[in-house]
């Protein structure tokens, strides 16, 4: 429910409208019913006051007209007054009480005449005191009539009356507001039902309006989502001339300009990649000719003038370097173009590592560096593109030998349930933190002044990194100046799986000791 409220703009708008609408219906209904009740009461009150006045007049006339000699005749008179007052005049029956004011000599035999079903609670003491204090005037108060379970509002009007022989009396007339209450309840019920209808109407209307407003926004949001997912052709329908049409129009304009920009950049970078690839391809044929010619010259250098021999050697070396550079450029441009198709096959990683170590032997011999292989005596198989992994290892090995200062280079192999790892570690010069950050950058060299015997292209590690990610693997590096450098390659055993952790620690154990 809360999530719906959070997610759906429509739900939020409808709920808010219902809450606000409900509040206003309550306020209006409350005000209406209060002012109605008030006006009913005022009407009844003025009616009651008029009737009471008339009643008092008639009582006083009656008393004045009769000749009262003793208590008995008085009692008879008074007894007849009350029932006559009960029925005379007025729309609804009223109740009557003629009470003797307290603080006078007790009359024998006398009884205060009271309507039969009148509850004396309807005549509170405060009213009586007030009535006694205000002779010649009518005094009133609203009261609650009826039993405990259902109270009916009423008005009690009282006035002092002086009766010969008997002394001071108070005449009270109690008017019931049952009819008014009933009418008010009727109106209130009507108001409540009307309010509920109104609320439902408001909810429906707000739903419809919100839908109309939100639907285009939702469409725009969906279109934006589609565009962000790369479907640049997505557009919104433009209808009418309102603000929503403006939104759709602006959105479409934005999408179009975005699309042109992206397509322009895309074609630009495609052109650039094509250029690198084309140049590399075009260079191959002349390079082949140069290479063959250089070889012929180099192999016959003994016949050359001694001053030309060195030139022939330099030519040969540089052609080889050019060759390596070109093939690395081609490989990286293949990766950039996304044109690399790996050939996965299950291989024993130990055999691949041994092959790489063997192929690097000329370099390790010339640098007088031994390469140690540490691996468990078990089959360590993984689905790999063998040629790429062997090239990668050869690359790591030649770097390690190059920077290893002649100290032994260690190749360690490990495995766990889903992954294999190969660590190539040297105990050479190492690298600083700044150097480490750039180690996989293209054409970057740790130390340009350093003499290189291999003549690396500067693309080796960049290609190695691509090779590793082609296998969904990791190529990580750890290094510390004057301690050594370690590259760790972690590959999933199955080409479709994902690796969570590497079987070998980083930094390697041999450097920690």
């Amino acid at each position: 429910m809360i999530s719906l409220f959070r997610k759906s703009l429509t739900a939020r708008a409808v709920l808010t409208t219902i809450l606000l609408g409900g509040l206003s219906v309550l306020i209006i209904g409350g005000f209406l019913s209060y002012s109605l009740a008030n006006s009913f009461y005022q009407n009844r009150l003025s009616q009651a006051l008029t009737e009471t006045e008339r009643a008092v007049d008639s009582v006083q006339t009656t008393i004045a007209a009769s000749s009262l000699n003793d208590e008995t005749s008085l009692q008879t008179l008074l007894n007849s007054v009350v029932p006559s007052l009960e029925i005379s005049g007025g729309s609804t029956p009223r109740q009557v009480a003629l009470l003797r004011s307290p603080g006078q000599p007790q009359l024998q035999l006398f009884q205060s005449p009271i309507s039969q079903d009148l509850d004396l609670a309807a005549i509170p003491d405060e009213l009586r005191q007030e009535v006694r204090a205000s002779a010649g005037r009518l005094t009133y108060t609203p009261v609650a009539l009826g039993g405990l379970e259902e109270s009916i509002p009423g008005i009690t009007v009282g006035t002092p009356i002086a009766i010969p022989i008997a002394g001071d009396f108070e005449l009270y007339l109690v008017y019931s507001l049952a009819a008014e209450k009933q009418a008010l309840e009727l109106v209130q019920n009507a108001l409540a039902i009307g309010g509920i209808f109104l609320l439902a109407l408001i909810a429906a209307a707000s739903y419809l309006v919100t839908r109309r407003l939100v639907a285009p926004v939702e469409r725009a949001a969906q279109a934006a989502q589609q565009i962000s997912e790369g479907k640049l052709d997505e557009r919104l329908p433009e209808q009418g001339e309102d603000v929503l049409a403006t939104l759709a129009g602006s959105f479409n304009k934005m999408a179009t300009s975005l699309q042109t920009q992206i397509e322009r950049l895309d074609s630009l970078s495609r052109m650039q990649r094509r250029f690198v690839s084309d140049v590399s391809h075009e260079l191959r044929t002349p390079l082949t000719t140069i290479k063959l010619a250089g070889e012929v010259i180099f192999s016959n250098r003994a016949q050359l003038d001694p001053s030309l021999t060195r030139s022939a050697e330099l030519l040969q070396d540089q052609i080889e370097r050019f060759d390596r550079l070109l093939s690395d450029l081609l490989e990286i441009s293949r990766y950039d173009a996304g044109a690399v198709i790996p050939e996965f096959e299950s291989h024993d990683i130990r055999a691949v590592a041994q092959a790489a170590i063997k192929s690097i032997e000329p370099l390790s011999k010339s640098k007088e560096t031994t390469v140690e292989l540490l691996c468990p005596e078990e089959n360590i198989r993984a689905e790999i593109d063998m040629r790429r992994i062997e090239r990668l290892l050869r690359n790591l090995l030649s770097n390690a030998i190059e920077h290893g200062e002649g100290r032994p280079v260690v190749v360690e192999i490990g495995q766990n349930a889903q992954a294999v790892a190969i660590c190539v570690t040297d105990r050479g010069v190492g690298m600083s933190r700044q150097q480490l950050e750039r180690v996989f950058d293209r054409f970057w060299r740790a130390d340009p002044s350093r003499q290189r015997s291999v003549g690396g292209t500067g693309l080796g590690l960049a290609i190695s990194k691509e090779d590793a990610s082609l296998h969904r693997g990791w190529l990580q590096v750890w290094s510390k100046p004057k301690v050594g450098t370690s590259f760790r390659l972690t590959l999933p055993k199955s080409k479709d799986s994902v690796i969570a952790n590497s079987p070998l620690p980083m930094p390697p154990r041999i450097l920690e000791a």
Partner: protein, 226 residues
């Protein structure tokens, strides 16, 4: 007598240079600059081997390869400027025996040519495999009395497998013994040629009885005991 080699390449300098290298190694080169003249020159000169560039103007090297294979089993070595998978496989499927990736060096090129011109079998005795009879003296493969036409390379591949029917040959072993590679090479050479060989010698290439696959290891010749 020196072997005659047809060099097909559209780049004049490279063609001439390859010719120089071949002459130095004792071969007699003949040349063609495009696909159409390559097939014509082939018919006129009847070379012992073709060095064929894949990227040719007009008719591509792959088409040239196919047209030569239609009437001749002479070894074809492709020169490919792309090391890309598609090109190599297409060339091999069109019937090329081997390929060299540009830029190559002279020694590599000559080694490939030498391997392809080497005699097919040292032992001239007739070998039997399933219903087939292989005669290394005439390079003939017969099923009963019907002669099957195999290229020398296909013959050598089948002969190598058939001479040791009990042995399983890994792809690397076949690359070494049939193609003459001393170090690891492209195992697709083996895969493609086994497919081509099967399509010629098997009655049902989908269900081979003569060149059997040993899963995870390589191939072996089918024997009657199986």
């Amino acid at each position: 007598m020196s072997h005659r080699i047809l060099v097909v390449d559209d780049d004049d300098a490279l063609r001439e240079m390859v010719g120089l290298v071949l002459s130095q190694s004792g071969y007699s080169p003949v040349f063609a600059a495009d696909g159409v003249s390559a097939v014509e020159t082939f018919r006129e000169q009847n070379p012992d081997l073709v060095l064929l560039d894949i990227m040719l103007p007009g008719q591509s090297g792959i088409e040239v390869c196919r047209s030569i294979r239609a009437f001749s089993g002479v070894p074809i070595v492709m020169l490919t400027a792309k090391g890309d998978t598609d090109d190599v496989v297409a060339g091999l499927e069109a019937g090329a025996d081997d390929y060299v990736v540009k830029p190559h060096n002279g020694a590599e090129l000559v080694a490939r040519i030498r391997a392809r011109l080497r005699p097919i079998a040292d032992d001239p005795s007739v070998v039997q495999v399933g219903p087939l009879t292989l005669d290394p003296k005439t390079f003939e493969v017969k099923r009963g009395s019907a002669v099957l036409s195999l290229t020398p390379l296909e013959f050598k591949l089948l002969h190598t497998l058939a001479s040791k029917p009990q042995q399983v040959f890994s792809r690397e072993m076949l690359l070494e013994q049939v193609w003459g590679y001393q170090y690891k090479a492209d195992t697709r050479l083996v895969n493609v040629h086994v497919q081509r060989l099967r399509s010629k010698v098997e009655e049902d290439p989908e269900n081979p009885k003569i060149v059997m696959t040993v899963r995870g290891h390589g191939y072996r010749a089918g024997s009657d005991s199986q």
